[in-house]
Subunit: 109 residues, 2 copies
Amino acid sequence: MEDRVEISLLVDLYGPLLTEKQLKIMELYYNEDFSLAEIAELNNTSRQAIHDLIKRCYKQLLSYESKLNLLEKSIKKEKIINNLLELLREKYSINSEDYEQCKSILKDL
Amino acid sequence: MEDRVEISLLVDLYGPLLTEKQLKIMELYYNEDFSLAEIAELNNTSRQAIHDLIKRCYKQLLSYESKLNLLEKSIKKEKIINNLLELLREKYSINSEDYEQCKSILKDL
């Protein structure tokens, strides 16, 4: 289990496809920085059981990403939006306020 | 099984989460307009078996949509992009060529 930021983004994107319990545990571990021991205590189970669950969910998230590529698309999207707005700004002198507003709206798409 | 266009869009969005065989059958039925009988013959099985598979897959696609809302988001996205470009065009007199190009790039995001 490597890049915590990447896994955290995968949890955001595909979390609803996990069970409620799995999602809660993945969020505690990757988004709220709880330790395995703390999560184990909260769930009345062993550290090893939580470790195994997280490993299983991580593989599941990677499998979803390999099929739907939502994370890859969202990273590409950001670059394309930035390039496009930059071009529009240069050519049409779009003011900073409008530029930032467009950027914020488009990034939420 | 209601709106064929909607189901066809769901197949495009979530198809990779189905098995290869399921996806092939859903594409034949919803995108290429094959009949149940034709698909059954291609797969050496009964019309009823294909009907059941399609019904199961349809429910699975609806379940993915209820969790990830990719179709709902893509419909909203199109409206937001149109509104935003319209505003930019009015305010900054963006020419038609640039307008259409931006629209096409943003819709593929």
